[in-house]
Symmetry: C2
Subunit: 211 residues, 2 copies
């Protein structure tokens, strides 16, 4: 291995104040970059990915999957760097950033170092795509949520309005959530709380939720 470096980056998404956010670390100059970790000799890749933001975000990790491996020869001017990039979701009720990491709105990202802008864009593509055929959307919400909150989450990520009745019909017919006893009170009529049915994960992954 003549001078080829390997590391792990993570694109971490969360919903904050009605907008999709990404967690970034300060880089050279005024730039920012994706949180990274060196791979330890005896550590699985996923663990290195989790380490990239461990202790910086007070949240259990809701979702972590490999995104892509970037290895263009000149992507980092400091040397040949191959990065295995992971993609993570953090529920919106957690994820207060501490340390040097900061949340940025996806629709107004700061300048990013190296090829990180392209990586974040691709991660958003993946998130939108997976939203349509799997149950990742729930990973951005707390354990209990209302149907309006769920719809709102989908709308923010997809960037488009969805029909309330059609949304509810499809989500409920898919059988992946169930009503709990609780209600959320607020400004108008209180809303029923729902929870994600863990036993439904497997079957949902097979079929598209939104075709």
């Amino acid at each position: 291995m003549t001078g080829i470096l390997l590391n792990v980056h993570v694109v971490i998404f969360s919903l904050r104040e009605d907008a999709l956010h990404v967690l970034l670390a300060p880089a050279q100059g005024k730039n920012w970059q994706l949180p990274a970790a060196e791979l330890k000799p005896d550590e699985p890749l996923e663990e290195a990915a989790a380490r990239a933001f461990a202790g910086q975000v007070d949240s259990r990790l809701a979702h972590l999957e490999q995104l892509y491996t970037y290895g263009e020869p000149r992507r980092d001017p400091r040397g040949r760097l191959v990065s295995v990039v992971y993609f993570a979701l953090v529920p919106s009720n957690a994820g207060q950033a501490s340390g040097k990491l900061c949340w940025f709105r996806m629709d107004s990202l700061p300048p990013l170092a190296f090829d990180h802008t392209g990586i974040v864009t691709y991660a958003l593509h993946r998130l939108r795509y997976k939203l349509e055929y799997s149950a990742v959307g729930f990973q951005l919400l707390p354990a209990e949520f209302t149907l309006s909150e769920l719809q709102h989450t989908y709308e923010i990520i997809l960037g488009e309005r969805l029909d309330k009745r059609n949304f509810r019909r499809r989500i409920l017919e898919a059988g992946i959530i169930e009503k709990t006893a609780g209600h959320r009170t607020g400004e108008g009529r209180p809303a029923s709380l729902y929870r994600y049915r863990l036993d439904a994960v497997a079957e949902v992954k097979a079929r598209r939720l939104f075709p």
Copy 2:
């Protein structure tokens, strides 16, 4: 980089004698393994992947995409090895193997070294999945083909029979192939030849062909 090795593996599929085949290289003992290449310091990952079977298969490369990066600490007993695995398709009219590489039927693979059996299984999943929503199927055929040959390709990969009329309707309505002047004569009525419409690639990738 304390003792972490990085290389590139390739899962190469082709259709031969009415069955899906994978290209393998001899390994320790009676085992076989996926063709591999060391990453050169100034070489893109794709190029290393292509190098893993360059000169061994007399064919232009029809399709090459990154599959996944495997990096479990104990996957290779000789040391910590991270492998970026690619996935390739070779048209059935080309791809005569030479050198040490051999084609094996997917339904009767020899014992594979390390975690390569799992990798090949995952690659087949990906191939089947992509067949349903993109145009990769055409990459396994020569430039001109009959609709029966195309359907046959789909049936072999998906492992199930398809209805002839429904298949033709969907393929033709998708507008991704066009009739050429030629015909293929053989035992029965001669069949019209079709070719893949290059300008259709982009739009097809967006929508599922087989839902």
